[in-house]
Symmetry: C2
Subunit: 295 residues, 2 copies
């Protein structure tokens, strides 16, 4: 396997997750070229010795592998196929990796169009939030051809702690939809459970401690349960992002004729949070719906 | 702290959880006296060298500490205050420990009545299911006076892996209600997530593996996710028990003026399972609601 310093990597989308991921690849020795819709964050990275391109096509012209970490599926389409999009600068064998959370059907369509243009495509969304992006402790769930996955492996080893090749193109996004369903519902569960303990006059910190030893134990109880107890809703993962991911998961389910009632209810609770102006908070802020003093 | 062989312990309720817990105390050297409504299981234990009493009062007359592991709150009331109930055989300083899942208000009332009769009371419900009872890996969440808790500690060390003194009498049951909310909702979450993966043609075993590395990681995904993949619904924790526990948690919430919409929906899904004849299966059978081939 080539050392990472032999790679020329493009990175498009430098938000809450993308920026620390890009910096981890840079520190691991890769030659990085970046692009971002808003330019302020690009200036900081250029001062760190990272190159910038004016548009996605420019990123593609200078790199072998391009990572996308943009906000949603329409943004992926714009970056790939919009004016000065990535597709305009592709070289034979360019590998495009979408590490954001995108719709499954669109992912398969994008992959087909890129492959026709001679490029490879992997969907490799992640779980672990901003902390996971910074600490390189992300869980990466990838869909694509085995040969393309092997090319991407050195990047995944820098960016994450666990990596699973889930299946063909789109399978990574299916796994991510499953992930967001569990994360969203489990945050809702911990919120209802700790709000009940608080209302009953029992210390939620002791309840969290007691429950971490049994079947209720989860990363969400550990991390987001502590956030709820501390009232620390600096994102992490935003309410609006969680809501968008659940809508995408429900669209996928609807297309398969599958009704997911708990996921639908959970999305409605996040919608209520957005309506009350809390959309930019961490998704653990869901407990505010159940705390009378917060209303 | 006295060795367990110095204890004379009563055990009432020898079901899925109670029987292995009783045997663990017996093997640890305690002198055990048991009672159970149905007699078949008592006969087996007597052959193992455990004494039997004809009724709860008889258990109380012969022991210092009595553990209850019966099916629900009315059964606890019957065992304590029914004809030939425990209260009739109490000696000064008898410690009664309810390790089942009982209603909080009733628990506080029972504790008051027993204390007036000169006995001590702890609520110490558990999480971990039948496996946890057998392997002595239960999480024990206790409510009661510190002195009573200290008396019970040697038993808890035999029966469980973690032990948390949550607060005053009733606080253990509040924690257990919180536990059942999280367990029930998280089973529902894993069921919807894995059913989505299956419907989308993606291997649910790989999805489970990918998700165990990220924020969706939980004991439920690990244990009950595997059960769903294997279609292994031999209980563990029964659908009917989970449903009863959720109803009790919702009653507690309602008494506090708290609405828990996801918990309510989740209880409805378990009700649907019961209505379709699956009440005696493990609670992970919830995924059957979302698998078309199972309908």
């Amino acid at each position: 396997m080539k050392p990472l310093s032999d790679y020329s990597i493009g990175f498009i989308g430098l938000g809450l997750m993308g920026r620390p991921m890009c910096l981890n690849l840079h520190r691991a020795g890769a030659r990085m070229t970046v692009h971002n819709r808003s330019r302020a964050v690009v200036g900081q990275l250029v001062r760190d010795g990272i190159e910038a391109a004016d548009n996605p096509a420019g990123v593609a012209r200078r790199t072998d592998i391009v990572v996308l970490m943009v906000s949603d599926t329409p943004a992926v389409e714009q970056v790939l196929f919009g004016s000065d999009g990535l597709a305009g600068g592709l070289r034979p064998g360019t590998l495009v990796i979408d590490m954001g959370t995108s719709a499954v059907a669109a992912t398969r369509e994008f992959a087909g169009r890129l492959q026709q243009a001679g490029a490879d495509f992997i969907d490799a969304p992640v779980s672990g939030g901003e902390i996971g992006a910074r600490d390189a402790s992300l869980a990466i769930m990838a869909g694509g051809e085995k040969s393309a996955i092997e090319r991407a492996r050195p990047l995944f080893e820098v960016l994450g702690k666990t990596f699973t090749h889930v299946g063909a193109v789109g399978a990574g996004q299916v796994a991510k939809a499953a992930n967001q369903i569990i994360v969203g519902l489990n945050i809702g569960a911990v919120a209802e459970a700790l709000a009940l303990a608080e209302s009953a006059g029992v210390d939620p910190a002791r309840v969290r401690q007691a429950l971490l030893g049994g079947f209720a134990a989860s990363r969400i109880l550990e991390v987001h349960g502590q956030r709820m107890i501390d009232g620390n809703f600096t994102p992490g993962g935003k309410v609006t992002t969680q809501h968008k991911d659940l809508r995408q998961a429900l669209d996928l389910a609807a297309g398969l004729g599958l009704s997911l009632p708990a996921t639908r209810l959970n999305m409605g609770l996040y919608q209520t949070l957005i309506d009350s102006g809390d959309g930019a908070l961490d998704h653990s802020a869901l407990i505010r719906l159940f705390r009378k003093s917060d209303c």
